[in-house]
Amino acid sequence: MDKISLTIDGQEIIANNGTTILETALENGIYIPHLCHHPDLEPVGVCRLCMVEIKGRGLTISCKAPVEEGMVARTESNEINKARRMAVELLIVNHHADCLSCAKNTQCKLQEVANYIGIEEKRLQRLRKPTGQFAIDTSNPFFDRDPNRCVLCGICVRTCEEIQGVSAIDFAFRGYGTTVSTFGNKPLLESRCESCGECVVRCPVGALIPKNVQQPSREVKSICPYCGCGCGIYLGVRGSTIVNLRGDPDNPVNRGSLCVKGRFGYEFINHPERLTRPLIKRNGKFVEVAWDEALNFVAKRLADYKGGHFAFIASAKCTNEENYLFQKFTRTVMGTNNIDHCARL
């Protein structure tokens, strides 16, 4: 990739040609406030927060400005501050300020931006809109949509269109009434939404929030147990319970993306109906027994069927190591090649 050099806030920076000023600044540890920018998505420049001043050109939004050789940009000036202060005030003015009860608290991009720019409550009061609240959409079983916390950055809309190709949501209505909604303003559950949760992952504020959020105390890297894609995941653990799951951004298969089953289908792990003790059928009923008793019983019975009277059905859900042992067991202990699994289904 071609390299070019430019100056941001007096720092000489070597950048990849074709990237934007915003991307280059962030990569080099220079913060520029932004809300609607997301590295996975095409820039749209709707939040107007990433304003910079380019020498000889004046104010411009940095997420849509490609770097150029010899360019000189500033991220701080009275004019920039004035413009972006107004932009952030208009975003924040009707936003619910009950941050402590918001699941996004401390990870919220709007908090980050407001902290950087500084907010004066007095100025906000003048701007507040007179009308009431939007209804919260709780129809989806995995996440809620609260338009009152939305900053209309459009990241969810673009994720659904650009990445998922589903286009279940878009901007609806006008002026104060503008919101992100489904076709016909129906609940998400009745829309064409596929519940993949990719928008929830990217929402910079608390407008799209998973239901029953619990922060994990630790994360364990693993692989999704559903289809053959083999997506990388992180299991979020709290005590002995899996409380959440996210895509592994470094896995070459999914690069962080997940489908509805992968992201939300982990509840089976801690399900109360899990089998927890060995069972032996006596008089038509299953009776709980100790491991040793169960294993002795199985070994004793299997001893009678060595050779062609025995067959093993292995599992495409089990690990390589386990399948290796299943066939080794069948071939060496039971003396037969009668082993197969559901590869044909």
């Binding site: 650009e162 990388g232 927890t276 290796y324 299943f326």
Partner: protein, 542 residues
């Protein structure tokens, strides 16, 4: 897999998932990718956004068609006719890659002769796809290079599934779309570790690494390694196992983590067979429909409760890691199997961690020779990975094919109709499909409340014309009857399939679809024809 092994000497995806975005043309046949492999579906969508041409061939107008430049809606079970018709056009129009054919393949003449019976009149009539569309599709596939083929169960689950796969491999050989980035023949495997279970030799005819049990040299090597004398005759396949139970030949069955009562064709027969067994031991994480028939059930740990590796559809071996202790007294399957072997007095099962098992696997499986837990810490490795320094193999067959001659083999084919076709008594063709929200027999996904909210019942998808003719309406519960059994399910009127074709999933124990499906087997791969059977639909009385 048997088909690809015949043509290319190896049965797996020839290329990698991330190469889909490098393809100039994507031909997706018999795969409902956005539903069954959603993350691969994302790659296809991205490729189309970047200008790749997408051709979808499927009996149903699936979601992927929204992104396709061309959609070929062929009748279920007519894939060979469609593909051979396409290749006839390639040959007639001089679109073959002659230098590739000369340098890398064999048997082209025999194959060309077999194209004679596929003139476009016949192909049009058999498949229901117009010749204009076939010609347009072929010209796109043969001229936009690299071109990648993706397929799944829609190709394999037929009484002639092996032929379907061979037809696809012929197509790739004919156009030189093999051994290159963004090209290839790519079966999208269904289960998380179905590739790995095959690699590990959980198959009746091969040891780990597809080494044949009849080969005396191979057998001697395993006998020495395992300190055991081994049986030299291939064992029975899944469907044959159930037949052998009926005949009283197999009396004891050890089954792990599968649910054939719901997943296998002609499911009633499976149930009867299980009842006939003298001894059935089942290892599972839930009391599945199949486990109910067991004499002993051993509680297994889930994937989150153990260490190990899965091999994905692109041959990538990746680590799973223990996140929590097993629930209750559950134990990992590897531990359970070792205990049983030891109780039966057998040496060679003294493993204290799956890492040690992988060392043994690597020592006996050439494709896995370079794989170790230490290396997997830095990310997955794609087999063949033949030494400790080998970086893995994203693209197969770049120089030669692992066949005897080193060349890819063209296979002559003829068209065979599905084993059971609709007639007066059973006038509709039933094909099986999947839902985005559930997985296989639902053992896991039906335990997730939210997924049940998104969908909690079976649907018979039928088009408006057939629904009107039968006097049934959307949402009505009907009986679906085949020669083997009947189930009830709700009707969904949608014009996804053409008239005469209906579709159901098999995720729902309440409507066990596989009671209906046909046990007709592919003669080579022994796959049952769950994609085609004849049914009739009746209104419920009253």
């Amino acid at each position: 897999m048997a088909g690809l092994a015949t043509a290319f000497g190896s049965g797996a995806m020839t290329n990698s998932i991330n190469e889909i975005s490098d393809a100039a043309c994507i031909f997706a046949i018999g795969t409902n990718t956005t539903v069954a492999h959603p993350i691969i579906g994302l790659q296809i969508k991205k490729a189309v956004q970047n200008g790749a041409k997408l051709i979808v061939a499927n009996p149903g107008k699936i979601d992927l068609c929204r992104f396709a430049g061309l959609f070929l809606q062929h009748r279920p079970g007519t894939d060979v006719a469609l593909l051979m018709g396409m290749m006839r056009v390639i040959v007639d129009e001089g679109l073959s890659d002659l230098s590739f054919i000369e340098k890398r393949t064999e048997n082209i003449e025999d194959f060309k002769n077999s194209l004679a019976s596929f003139d476009l009149n016949f192909v049009e009539q058999t498949t229901g796809v117009s010749r204009e569309k076939i010609i347009e599709a072929v010209r796109t596939y043969a001229t936009c290079k690299p071109a990648i083929v993706l397929y799944s169960m829609g190709i394999t689950q037929h009484s002639h599934g092996t032929d379907n796969v061979l037809a696809i491999s012929n197509l790739a050989l004919l156009t030189g779309n093999i051994g290159k980035r963004g090209a290839g023949v790519n079966p999208l495997r269904g289960q998380n570790n179905v590739q790995g279970a095959c690699d590990m030799g959980a198959l009746p005819n091969v040891y780990p690494g597809y080494q044949r049990v009849e080969d005396p040299e191979v057998r001697r090597r395993f006998e020495a390694a395992w300190n055991s004398s081994l049986n030299d005759s291939p064992g029975l396949t899944l469907t044959e196992i159930f037949n052998a139970i009926d005949e009283g030949k197999i009396k004891a069955l050890h089954l792990v983590g599968e649910n054939p009562v719901l997943s296998d064709a002609n499911a009633k027969h499976v149930e009867e067979s299980l009842k006939r067994l003298e001894f059935l031991v089942v290892q599972d994480i839930f009391l599945s429909e199949t486990a109910r028939f067991a004499d002993v059930i051993l509680p297994a740990a889930s994937f989150a409760e153990k260490d190990g590796t899965f091999t994905n559809t692109e041959r990538r071996v990746q680590r799973i890691r223990k996140a929590i202790e097993p629930i209750g007294e559950a134990k990992p399957d590897w531990w359970i199997q070792c205990q049983i072997a030891k109780k039966l007095g057998r040496q060679g099962f003294d493993f204290s961690h799956p890492m040690e098992i992988m060392e043994e696997i690597a020592s006996l499986t050439p494709n896995y020779k370079g794989i170790s837990y230490e290396r997997l810490e830095n990310g997955g490795l794609q087999w063949p990975c033949v030494t400790r320094e080998h970086p893995g193999t994203p693209i197969l067959h770049t120089e030669r094919f692992p066949t005897k001659t080193g060349r890819g083999k063209f296979m002559p084919l003829r068209y065979k109709p599905a084993a059971e076709i609709p007639d007066d008594e059973y006038p509709l063709l039933l094909t099986t499909d999947r839902s985005l929200y559930h997985y296989h027999t639902g053992t896991m996904t039906r335990k997730v409340d939210g997924l049940n909210v998104l969908r909690n019942h079976e649907l018979v998808e039928i088009n408006q014309k057939d629904a009107t003719a039968l006097g049934i309406t959307d949402g009505e519960v009907v009986r679906v009857i085949s020669r083997r059994g009947e189930v009830t399910a709700k009707v969904k009127v949608r014009d996804v399939f053409s008239s005469g074709v209906v579709s159901m999933t098999f995720h729902f124990a309440e409507s066990p679809t596989n009671v209906l499906t046909s046990p007709a087997l592919d003669p080579v791969a022994k796959i049952p024809e769950t994609k085609v059977c004849a049914v009739r639909i009746e209104k419920l009385e009253g």
